[in-house]
């Protein structure tokens, strides 16, 4: 018992460090990536390739005065950024990076991650509501309707995977996919199950993780050309910093989950040297795609987003669920 507890505590510390490091350097990667796409060099002054930029930005954010506007609900206002960051970090604890590197493996790992992911929506709601800013309130209302709309297809797709692999244990899901890329869930020729729609499911899941993490083209919560800065309009200093880190931590979680569910986790595509490097390679490729998408597309509208979810993604994922259920029965 006490050993598990210690395990978890150590894991949480490592998770915080990992999340913070990721957040910092993903910002750097995003800025560099965006710059390259726009044919500029991006941050390149501080350190080689601008690699000292993120810590300096962190120092700058921390050095700033924490302003709390007079009219806000102080407690909620302070809790919200923490709430945006904390669930993301907690989710890291249960994500298996390789067969050995996992904070605490749980049989209901996938549920845990989803449960924590939906808390992110609450953080946005609280932030917007407590800010007493009209733009923030509008943004948080958007964020909530968006979170609801996109958690459904995401969960349905996850259930499809759970049905195929027969387990809710993230470790188990990966183990069910070992042995080369043709065993991955994204491909239809999984042994004994010829579901042609798995690629579509992957796309649905990917789109949903974009929407869940409030990334462009679904960044309606912080649509700066309409809502100034959305739910974090009133936040400065580290309050803003936490939201920022939370966003990137969530991106890492989303990419990890996609990797685990569809891309075989730490499994090597050719069955060679499975290990944590494959997992990291896969999630960073996915994150690069996130960044790439963000700097390519305009933002959707709120109704376009809801239409996409309710009219396309949910029926499609439901259909795939039924199909998978049928196929499982047949084979």
């Amino acid at each position: 018992m006490s050993l598990t507890l210690l395990n978890v505590i150590v894991a949480v510390f490592i998770a915080i460090a990992f999340a913070a490091l990721n957040a910092a350097y993903l910002v750097w990667a995003e800025r560099r990536g965006a710059a390259r796409i726009q044919r500029r060099p991006g941050p390149n002054i501080n350190g080689p390739f601008g690699l000292f930029q993120p810590p300096l930005d962190g120092v700058k954010l921390m050095a700033k005065q924490l302003l709390i506007p007079g009219d806000v609900d102080k407690i909620l206002f302070m809790v919200a950024p923490v709430l945006a960051m904390a669930p993301a970090i907690t989710s890291f604890v249960t994500i298996p990076f390789s067969s050995h590197i996992v904070g605490h493996n749980m049989h209901i790992g996938i549920l845990l991650v989803f449960a924590f992911a939906s808390m992110g929506g609450m953080a946005l709601l609280l932030a917007g509501w407590s800010s007493r800013n009209k733009y923030s309130v509008m943004s948080s209302v958007r964020a909530v309707s968006q979170a609801i709309a996109y958690e459904i297809p995401m969960l349905i797709t996850a259930i499809t995977i759970v049905m195929i692999t027969g387990t809710t244990d993230l470790m188990g899901i990966v183990k069910a996919q070992t042995g080369g890329f043709w065993h991955w869930n994204i491909f239809p020729f999984k042994a004994g199950l010829f579901n042609p729609l798995m690629l579509m499911s992957f796309l649905i899941f990917f789109i949903c993780s974009l929407a869940e993490t409030n990334r462009a083209p679904f960044d309606l919560g912080e649509a700066e050309s309409e809502l100034v800065a959305g739910f974090h309009t009133e936040y400065g200093s580290m309050g803003f910093g936490l939201f920022f880190m939370g966003e990137y931590a969530n991106i890492v979680i989303g990419a990890s989950l996609t990797t685990i569910l569809f891309l075989g986790g730490w499994d090597c595509p050719f069955g060679l040297f499975p290990g944590v490097w494959w997992f990291l390679l896969k999630i960073y490729l996915l994150i690069a795609t996130f960044i790439w998408i963000r700097w390519t597309f305009p933002r959707t509208t709120i109704y376009g987003l809801l239409n996409l979810s309710w009219k396309i993604l949910i029926p499609a994922s439901l259909f795939n669920l039924l199909l998978t259920a049928g196929l499982l029965k047949v084979f």
Partner: protein, 371 residues
């Protein structure tokens, strides 16, 4: 702790979009009465950067006022200067050498492309896409470099003089302009692939903010706003001035009336401007760029008017002279002023994000509204 908020179901709230807001691209304020995300009523409030250009027109001598025109619209300044010099030349009876008039047409069209490019980028940025802005600015930079080499300035050109030009163009300019045309055509293909064809972009604009021809006429809107609603009006064709009758070009008109139609008009206009530049460079005659001897400007008492088609629509300038050194009255009819005012009426019942996309499609330049 502050008092709890009581919510009444039929309550609306006021949202101040601007004077400092990322969507208004300047100091425009829109007072919106909102019901959730729906706009019940909107009122545009202008005047935050009023600079009294018309009054300055009355106080300054004719040549002294030249530079003011390039400060009205900082994106398409040459079009405005063109209107001004044409008016004074008409009123004072000054002959303009043909070469000067061709160069004017070429530079105005270049400036129109620059303006449309900037609008394109800013508009897509309003919709949340950043990279197209950077690509558009790259192309625009090319134009600005060209114009800077000729005029000495990047935005506030004040390049035209009564009777001609401040500087002649050199071979470098002509070569650069020739290089620019194919480059711009390739870029246009890129933009159409990246933006026009994009499903998200289309979904955001198609059928949004339809402006009927009636409302266009009611507010006197011109330019791409009118041409996107099926009104075939372009001063260059309807009341030809300068050397425009010499050129073969089309006026793009779209009948869908929505934001996408306004977008398409401007994108098609870039191509037409390229055609004009191409022909202008081919036909460019030699000769002087200023009349032989400079006469002091003397304008007989009377009432003069000149309209030109700028990047934003029909710009009119009216001069009432009493024969003195300065105008008795100078009226500047700025196109965006009319184009903007239909926003109040048209945006009712729209979602805020659609309304701001609609505002972007009007191509507002606030200093030009406020003058």
């Amino acid at each position: 702790m502050s008092a709890p908020i009581r919510i009444r179901p039929d309550e609306t709230f006021t949202l101040n979009v601007g004077p400092q807001h990322p969507a208004t691209h300047g100091v425009l304020r829109v007072k919106m009465e909102m019901d959730g995300e729906y706009i019940v009523n909107a009122e545009t409030v202008i005047g935050y950067i009023h600079r009294m250009h018309e009054k300055m027109g009355e106080l300054k001598t004719y040549p002294q006022f030249l530079m003011n025109l390039s400060r009205m619209d900082y994106l398409g300044a040459l079009g405005y200067s063109h209107g001004h010099v044409l008016l004074i030349e008409k009123a004072a009876g000054i002959e303009v050498p043909e070469r000067a008039e061709y160069i004017r047409a070429i530079t105005v069209e270049l400036n129109r492309i620059a303006s449309h490019l900037f609008w394109f980028g800013a508009f897509v940025m309003d919709l949340g896409g950043f990279s197209p802005l950077m690509y558009a600015l790259q192309d625009r930079e090319y134009i600005l470099d060209m114009l800077e080499a000729v005029t000495g300035s990047r935005l506030t050109y004040s390049y035209y003089r009564f009777g001609g030009l401040y500087n002649d163009v050199d071979d470098d300019f002509i070569a650069a302009a020739r290089r620019f045309i194919p480059r711009m055509r390739t870029s246009m293909k890129k933009y159409h692939k990246l933006v026009t064809g994009n499903i998200i972009f289309k979904k955001r604009l198609e059928g949004i903010a339809p402006l009927s021809p009636e409302i266009i006429r009611k507010y006197g809107a011109t330019g791409a706003v009118a041409r996107g609603s099926g009104i075939n009006f372009d001063v260059r064709k309807n009341e030809p001035y300068s050397v425009y009758p010499e050129f073969d070009f089309d006026i793009p008109v779209f009948h869908e009336c929505d934001s996408l139609a306004r977008y398409k008009v401007r994108m098609a206009e870039i191509e037409q401007s390229l055609r004009i530049i191409e022909q202008g460079l081919d036909k460019l005659p030699g000769g002087p760029i200023m009349p032989e001897k400079k006469k002091p400007i003397k304008i007989a008492p009377g009432d003069y008017y000149q309209a030109v088609e700028t990047a934003r629509g029909s710009f009119g300038i009216r001069l009432v002279s009493d024969g003195g050194k300065t105008p008795y009255r100078l009226k500047l009819r700025s196109p965006t002023y009319s184009n903007m005012h239909l926003f109040d009426e048209s945006c009712r019942g729209m979602l805020i994000m659609d309304a701001l996309a609609f505002m972007g499609s009007l191509d507002l330049v606030i200093p030009e509204i406020d003058r």
